[in-house]
Structure formats: C-alpha cells, structure tokens
C-alpha cells in the first residue's frame, strides 16, 4: 500500500504555480459539517495518494463536478470518524471519503465570486439572452 509521501517540512498546501492559492486554502477533507466553500484547486500535483494515481484521482474528481470555482457545502457526515462525507457541489450532491477529499482545496465562500478564477468564470458565463 502507498503511504502518502508528502514531506513533513513542506507546507500543508504546496504552491503549484498553476494558480496563486488564497492564504486560507485548505483541503476539503478537513471541513466540518455545514461548512461552505469554493474549490480553488483539484488534484494533488503529483503527491502520491494511497487511493489512485494523482492524475487519475484528479480527473475523477473533475468528472463528478469538483472543478475550480464550484461551490461546495458539507451536508452530512458518516457516523464513524465522520467519514465519508456528503457534499453539495453546485446543484448536485456527491458522496466521497475524506481520503479522496484531501485532493480538493477549498477557500471560504464569497457569494460575489471576488477571486480571479471566479471572476474569469463570470465573464465567460455572462447571460446574454435577450
């Protein structure tokens, strides 16, 4: 079995260069019931995970709706070890284990979408219907 090989000295949230992460970014796996957040990064950036290879895990999370900019809310927790968790992702619900939720970084939800990623989304997504 793979052991998570994240070096102890490295920061809990490695900066990837892909995006500048907000200071309060933390894994979804540490969120408690009722918490609302916005996804800022999906994937572990090569850090080995004991579930699947990181690239595969990243794509699976993306495919079920965990994309950067999505609104997430922890709806329910399991009885043992508060695992797994039921999460509202935008307008759908997804169940996953905290082990996999480790690969999703979230930040506090701001309804106006003030972050760069959120803003970019908004520009593209402007409603142009008459």
């Amino acid at each position: 079995m793979h052991i998570s090989s994240r070096p102890a000295a490295a920061p809990a949230v490695p900066d990837t260069g892909r995006t500048t992460l907000p200071a309060d970014a933390r894994p979804l796996s540490r969120a408690a019931k009722g918490e609302v957040g916005r996804v800022v990064r999906v994937g572990l950036d090569g850090v080995i995970h004991d579930s699947l290879n990181p690239e595969e895990l990243e794509r699976r999370l993306l495919e079920i709706g965990f994309v950067e900019g999505a609104r997430v809310e922890i709806l329910h927790e399991g009885l043992f070890g508060r695992d797994p968790i039921a999460v509202r992702v935008d307008d759908m619900r997804v169940a996953l284990r905290r082990r996999e939720a480790e690969a999703i970084l979230i930040t506090r939800w701001q309804p106006d979408g003030a972050s760069p990623a959120g803003a970019a989304l908004h520009v593209i997504a402007e409603d142009t219907r008459p």
Binding site: L62, L75, E77, G78, L79, R93, A95, E100, L121
Partner: protein, 631 residues
C-alpha cells in the same frame, strides 16, 4: 468511412443509449422497447448487456442497446469500458451503433453536457434526449431547447420516459434519421482521445457556458431531497432506518415467500408423483424425477424469494436510496476491504447466495464485485437451516445456559456468526493481501429522490426472474443431471442389500475419499451424502436418510436424528456443522458464479478456497472436541 445517411448499411438501424448514471436511461429504454428486451452479459466481461428492439411509427425496426451509465468515455470500470468500446465501435462481437442517443436528466444537466461534448468528438450521429423534462418544468427550470441545440451543435429532443406520449418526438427524429434526413448531428471523423485533466476542465467550462446561455435555474428547487436526507443520512437515525428497512426486507423474503415456495414444492412433488405413476420404473423415470424435477425444483423454489428481493432492491434503487445505503455502510464494510455497495448483496445472501450474487451487479468496480461474489456463499443461507436444525437437535442438549439462553439457540447463533466473521475475514484477505495496491475510491453522486415508477419496477423484476429461470433451465439443470448421473451409475447389482447409492460413482468416490476425511471425523456414509448434497445443501438431509436406510427421507427426521445420535460421536457432529459453515455445498451457486463472472476460473477458486476452509475448520473442530473427550 462515409456516414452520409446514418442508417445506410441496410440492416436494422442500431441505436445506443449513453448517459450519466441515474439519468432515467433505463426508464427510457423500457419505454422504447416495452417487453421486447433481453438481459445477458457482454462477451468475456461481467457487465450486464441490455438489448431491445422496437418498431417506429414510420415502420422502421430499430435495435437499441442500453449502455452502462458513465460520466466520461474515459473508462474507469469494466462497465464504462464497455460503453467506451461500443460507442467507439471497437467492441469485439458488437456492431457499431448507427446513432448515439445521449440521455440527460433535464434537472441535472451540468455533468451530462460534458459527456455530450465528449461524444461529439467520436464523430458518430448523435442526439441528445432531455429526459424527465416534465420534472424540470415543474421545478421551474427553463431550458431553451433551440439555443441548447445550437450551442452544442447537437439536435436536442425533450422526453418523458414514464409517460406514453413522452417519446413521440424522439421516435419522429429516429424515423426521420432512418429516412436519411439531416436530423442528427452529422457523422464526422473520430477525433476522440482520452482527455487530460486540463481538457476535462476546459470541456467543463464550455458546458458551464452553454448552461448559462440556455438554462434558467429552478425557481422551485427540490427541497424534498434535502429534507429526506437530513433524516436518512443522519449518522444515527440514518443507520437505524437502514437497519429497519433491511430487517423488514429480510422478514419479507422469508415469510412472504414461504407460502408460494410451499406451493411450488408441492407442484414439483405432485409432478414427480404423477410421473412415478405413469412411467415404468427405470433409468428414464429416475432421470426425470430424481434428476430433472428434483434438481430444477430445488432451484426454482427460490424464485419467490428472488422476486421479493429484487422488488425491494429495484424500489430502493429507483427511489435513489441505494447510494445512501452505501454511504452509511461504507465505513463498516470498508474495514473488511469491501465497498459500501457490497452490503445489500451480502444481506440478500442470508436468504440464498444466488440472488445475492446476482445483486452484486450494483457494484461497479470489478475487484470489489468479485470479492463480494466470493464471500457471499459464506453467509448462512436458508438451505443450511434444515441441516443445522437436524444436527443441533440430535446432538446439542435442549437446556438453558446463563439462565436465559437456550443452548441450541446459542449454537445456531454461533454458526451464523462464524459465517459472517469468516466472510469479512476472507474479504479482508482478498482485498488487502491478494489484490493489494489501489483502494477503489468511494466517489458517487447522491441523486435526487424520485417516486419509483410501477411499470419500470415490473419490467425490472420480470427481466431478473426471466434470467434466473433461464439459468435454472440451462446451466443449473445440466449440473443437476450430472449429479444425478454420478449418484445413480452404475446401478446396484442383483440382490444388493445396501442402498443403490453405495454402488454408484458417488458411492465409490465417497469410499475412495474416506481416508481423506477420516482426520476430520467423517465416516463414508457422510461423504456419500455430501455428493448429492452438492445439488442443494438441504438435499444432504435426505441423502443421509438414504445412506442410513432410514425410510421417508425428510419427513421422517426424528428417526434419522435417533440413528445419527447413535452412530455419530459429538465430535463428528460438530465437525459436520463446521464443514457446513464453509463448504461450497451448492452446485447452483457455483453455476451462478460461472454465469455472472463468465468464466470457470472463479467458481473453481471459490470451490477450492471454501473446501480448504471447511476442511481446516472441521479438522480443528474435530480435534479440539476429541481432546475434550467428546469423541
């Protein structure tokens, strides 16, 4: 390859339904095909293949294939590999589809639009069916169908699978397509490749953009699901409700099925008696009554249990409860290396391993499914009960221990517990030691609750029952005939005094195996009884009656109890019980495993490992009991 007219090859046009899980794809499939459908496995894989046919209003005969649900063509499970390969037209033995119909849940478009964009790259004629359009309307979701179609570059048809008129538009499109009109996205070359994470992100953004343009979010969002989930997913109340549902299900399988099972049994007995009265005594009569009727009867008798069990399973599935049950049980099952979804099949196996193994189809991952199939027969099925009852009442004194507990009841409970614990242990060893490495992630959508549709339920139960009866009529029937052959040939010589089975191949094998089973305290009569007991576990009771020449078989159980009480030691009896906890004494189960896994390898592995476990358990039991002076 030219695809000017999508259906130009002359044969019946072939349509493949693709879509996310829970999008109502199967309901649409049922609506299109009615009862003209068949369920089987794809060649070489354990994936269920559902095919049907229908005639369009325009008189075109169309074949439809209901492909396993997926979020992406990038296959992650054997089911999704089938979907990918069929869509790409490279599944061996499977014709290329002429038209892909992507089925979408109109109330939940986000993920399916990404799939549509991926399907577009395949370059096959494509059509998007917006299913559950009525529910979307009811919630105030406004979908600009023309805009959606224009942005996607794919024709879009609203459908309501549960209503008769709900598929008219779709059928019109199919008719028009069959006549060569440009009503489907024209076929182009295949440019699909496995998308990278960045490409998945890009497609997702594109889907997001189209949704913003063409879909207005619900004005009356689905609050029922949220409200129900606060109770059903509550860590404590949710688990209690789950246990209550399961208890009720278990009770129903046992009690409601009983009268019908008695009826079926009486029917087969009557048929046997009639044949015994009409045909002259001889080989043919024995084959028909002891082989075919007794064998098939012993399997068909489980049909009521299977129907009730699948009624519950399909109801819970259509309602949207199954992913929730998996959510609640994941941590508990995960401890043994099993997936949360393995829970229902294992529970079903308490009634009978056959429906339990059939129910493992709810598990997507191949290894998780195989691990569940392999441990399902360790659950104490109802066919073990007659054997347990016989031995316990013959050997365990009927007294209370600890003031309140019946000793016989405690032994019975211990046998159930031994089955459960060993199943968890075997699963643990398989998933943690044999199939080491990646742990399949638990990642699934919790769909909105829906009121189950009666027509869909009837259709679902009917296809399962049909598949079971077909199995009973082919594979299981063949195995029963072979067992009959082994227990009847060669026949007893003239003037034989011992029962005929002694002289048969089974009898010879019994005598021949005797030195092997001597260490676990079995005598040759027991070994001989175990061979016809392969047909079904409870047959061993009747077979013991035959070898000990106790007349009346199962009806005369008390005489048999006396005989056994005199001729077996307590150590032998306990060893026999230990054997029955583990031994693969059920040809039907092995037959179903062969059918479900499509290979002889898994039933053989199952037979070998269960026999080994049974032998070791009996060996330990016999020697411990003997050292306690019970020999």
């Amino acid at each position: 390859m030219s695809l000017a007219s999508p259906f130009s090859h002359g044969g019946a046009p072939r349509i493949a339904l693709v879509g996310n899980p829970n999008c109502g794809k199967t309901a649409l499939f049922n609506a299109l095909t009615g009862s003209r459908q068949k369920v089987a496995n794809y060649a070489g894989v354990t994936v269920e293949r559902k095919e049907g046919s229908f005639t369009t209003p325009g008189g075109h005969r169309v074949q439809v294939l209901d492909l396993p649900g997926t979020y992406s063509l990038r296959a992650r499970s054997p089911d999704e590999e089938v979907t990918r390969d069929v869509v790409l037209g490279r599944f061996r033995g499977e014709a290329e589809p002429d038209l892909l119909v992507c089925v979408a849940d109109a109330t939940n478009l986000r993920l399916v639009l990404r799939l549509v964009l991926e399907l577009k790259m395949v370059g096959r004629p494509l059509l998007l069916a917006l299913n559950m359009f009525d529910i979307a309307k009811h919630r105030g979701i406004e979908i600009d169908v023309d805009r959606l179609s224009a942005e996607l570059g794919v024709p879009v048809v609203p459908t309501v699978a549960v209503r008769r008129a709900g598929t008219v538009d779709l059928l019109k499109r199919i008719d028009a397509a069959a006549e060569g009109l440009e009503v489907v996205a024209p076929g182009t070359g295949n440019t699909w490749h496995e998308p990278s994470a960045e490409e998945v992100r890009a497609t997702h953004r594109e889907a997001e953009r189209i949704i913003k343009l063409a879909v207005r979010p619900p004005t009356r969002p689905d609050t029922w699901t949220t409200r129900l989930d606060t109770v059903l997913l509550n860590p404590v109340a949710g688990l209690l409700i789950l246990l209550t549902i399961l208890f009720f299900m278990f009770q129903a399988v046992f009690t409601w099925a009983q009268p019908v099972m008695d009826g079926i049994k009486a029917g087969f007995d009557g048929l046997s008696a009639w044949i015994n009265g009409t045909l002259p005594d001889g080989l043919l009569r024995s084959l028909i009554t002891d082989g075919v009727i007794a064998g098939v009867g012993s399997v068909v008798v489980f049909l009521p249990q299977i129907v009730i069990l699948f009624t519950f399973i399909i109801l819970l599935e259509d309602f949207g409860y199954m992913p929730r049950a998996a959510f609640l049980m994941d941590k508990i099952m995960g401890g043994a290396g099993l997936h949360g979804r393995a829970f229902i099949p294992l529970l079903s196996s308490f009634a009978c391993a056959i429906p339990g193994i059939m129910a493992t189809r709810v598990i997507d991952n191949r290894r998780d499914r195989l691990a569940t199939i392999m441990v399902a027969p360790l659950m104490t099925c109802s066919a073990r009960i007659p054997v347990y009852t016989l031995i316990i009442s013959a050997f365990v004194p009927d007294r209370t221990v600890g003031g309140a507990f019946s000793l016989q009841g405690l032994v019975m409970f211990g046998l159930y517990a031994a089955g459960i614990l060993s199943a968890l242990l075997v699963a643990f060893v398989m998933r943690r030691l044999v199939w080491r490495g990646t742990v399949e992630p638990f990642l699934m959508e919790l769909p909105a609750y829906k009121v189950p549709d009666a027509k869909n339920l009837v259709m679902g139960v009917w296809t399962r029952a049909k598949a079971f009866l077909q199995r009973a009529g082919t594979t299981i029937l063949s195995i029963m005939i072979l067992i009959w052959f082994l227990s009847s040939f060669p026949g007893a010589p003239e003037g034989a005094t011992d029962p005929a089975i002694d002289y048969s191949i089974a009898g010879m094998v019994g005598h021949w195996l005797q030195p092997l089973v001597a260490p676990i305290g079995f005598n040759w009569q027991m070994t001989v009884a175990l061979i016809p007991g392969m047909a079904a576990r409870e047959v061993a009771v009747a077979a013991l009656g035959t070898v000990y020449a106790v007349g009346g078989g199962e009806e005369n159980v008390s005489a048999l109890m006396d005989t056994l009480g005199h001729s077996w030691s307590l150590a032998t009896a306990l060893s026999f019980l230990a054997w029955y906890v583990f031994a693969p004494q059920c040809a039907s189960t092995l037959g179903v495993v062969r059918r479900e896994t499509n290979s002889l390898k898994w039933p053989i592995i199952m037979f070998v490992y269960m026999t080994t476990l049974a032998y070791l358990a009996s060996l330990a039991t016999y020697h411990i009991a003997a050292s306690l002076g019970w020999a």
